[in-house]
């Protein structure tokens, strides 16, 4: 599949279009508003669904290949915030606190962007199967999970590793810790440890017990332990309707992003450029790291997406506790109003395209 087709496929998906519609709705001052708690409910659904599916996939795959991608993921989670921090300090002239907080967000990950990457690959697979059927390469009516279909995906590098959600979880935490350590070293102020809430231990506990990490790791284990039998019981709720629910979620994300767009002026042009270029740099790093770690092309692409994505569930909560002097306007606007839409709309097909070049497929 070439770049234009992939771009097209991604842009015309109901998920991306719903996101754009949400942004437009705030621009035309629509009274459309999601109920206060629906966003939280959808987040819980998303995290549980991703965790469960990852755990199930893990339970049916070989773990021996896991350690290298795991190491690559940790490396990305450590390097990206350090690089981001220096760029933000040196070129962006941000103060220590804001630079560290933004760096924490860009080193960490976004589960929704990950979900959309999964949905994007599912669509790519369906397209590949359809094309193969049309070309007569496989029999008409071949089921999406029949061996013949899997071979088609395989040939086009569309099967990602089952443990991708584990990598999502792994990459969530280190960047935030790294950014906090940098901020402390730089500010030479240990007062943070003395103040209310905020010793390193507390921050770590907060991160591991934080809802996104807890749901992801927790349901990864649930999915792993309950295996195929468990998965079959819950798949009609957590798998089949996944892309439909994601459509609703992205509509809401569009509404939130649209409201944030007004803050773009406040954050200045540097952060806008950073919010677009940094993900591309990280994605490329992620794809190469994935290849080095011996991952499939789809796996490396998704690792690239993880590297490119900026957190907006775990990181904001952690920064409120650990870096209270950083301004939410900067880190929320950058991750939500710039990087998130960029990744969803342009990034996914772009990273897929880069990966096909890197893998020579």
């Amino acid at each position: 599949m070439n770049a234009t087709q992939a771009m097209f496929l991604s842009l015309l998906s109901p998920m991306v279009l719903a996101f754009i519609l949400g942004v437009i709705a705030t621009r035309v001052k629509s009274d459309l508003k999601f109920p206060e708690d629906l966003y939280t409910a959808l987040t819980i659904y998303l995290l549980v669904a991703i965790g469960l599916k990852g755990g199930y996939k893990l339970s049916i795959s070989h773990l021996s290949d896991f350690w290298r991608p795991g190491l690559a993921t940790i490396a990305l989670g450590v390097i990206i915030p350090i690089v981001s921090y220096y760029i933000l300090r040196q070129l962006g002239k941000f103060n220590v606190w804001n630079a560290a907080a933004i760096a924490a967000h860009y080193g960490s990950v976004s589960a929704v962007t990950f979900g959309e990457a999964i949905a994007f690959h599912d669509t790519l697979k369906e397209e590949a199967l359809r094309a193969a059927i049309e070309a007569g390469a496989v029999a008409a009516g071949t089921a999406a999970d029949a061996p013949a279909a899997l071979a088609v995906y395989q040939a086009q590098g569309l099967n990602y590793e089952g443990f991708m959600p584990s990598l999502l979880t792994i990459m969530e935490v280190p960047a935030i810790l790294v950014a906090i350590i940098i901020a402390r070293l730089q500010s030479r102020e240990d007062s943070l440890d003395a103040g209310e809430g905020g010793t390193m231990g507390e921050v770590l506990r907060e991160l591991l017990a934080g809802k996104s990490t807890l749901l992801l790791i927790g349901f990864l284990i649930v999915g792993y332990v309950s295996g195929k039998r468990g998965w079959d019981q819950v798949a009609p709720w957590f798998d089949t309707p996944f892309r439909g629910v994601l459509t609703l979620f992205l509509l809401e994300a569009g509404l939130v992003t649209g409201r944030r767009l007004e803050d773009l002026k406040k954050v200045g042009p540097f952060l806008v450029v950073f919010g677009i270029l940094m993900p591309i740099v990280s994605a490329v790093a992620g794809i190469f790291a994935g290849q080095l770690a011996g991952m499939t092309m789809a796996g490396a692409t998704v690792l690239g997406v993880l590297a490119a994505s900026a957190s907006y569930i775990a990181a904001p909560a952690a920064c409120r506790v650990a870096l209270p002097k950083a301004s939410p306007t900067y880190y929320l606007t950058a991750s939500l109003a710039i990087t998130f839409p960029f990744n969803i709309i342009v990034g996914l097909p772009l990273y897929h395209f880069i990966a096909t070049r890197v893998y020579g497929l």
Partner: protein, 100 residues
């Protein structure tokens, strides 16, 4: 109706602090409190969505000395660190035993 006078202390602060703050208020001698979900803007910017966090509004009716220790506690532990506003009023109540 025969009423008595008490102090009403209202605290508006970050919602994650609710469990801790209410425990402290009761420990300082209040016999009860009422909490509700609110949003707002102030020095620390907007707090009106899941993303930025929301606020909680806690009101407690207490005798004046306890009101003072609650205010002192808030001034010491919350005002310097968290998005917090606190104010106090005099109210007329029924059944003074419920609050002392």
């Amino acid at each position: 109706m025969k009423t008595s006078e008490m102090k009403l202390v209202v605290i508006i602060t970050e919602d994650e602090l609710e469990p801790r703050l209410t425990k402290e208020i009761l420990a300082l001698g209040a016999r009860g409190y009422t909490a509700s979900r609110v949003r707002g803007e102030g020095w620390h910017g907007a707090r009106k969505s899941e993303w930025e966090g929301e606020n909680v509004r806690i009101e407690t009716i207490v005798p004046e000395p306890i009101a003072n220790s609650i205010l002192a506690h808030i001034a010491d532990r919350y005002l310097p660190h968290y998005a917090t506003v606190v104010y106090m009023q005099t109210v007329s109540i029924l059944r003074v035993e419920k609050f002392t």
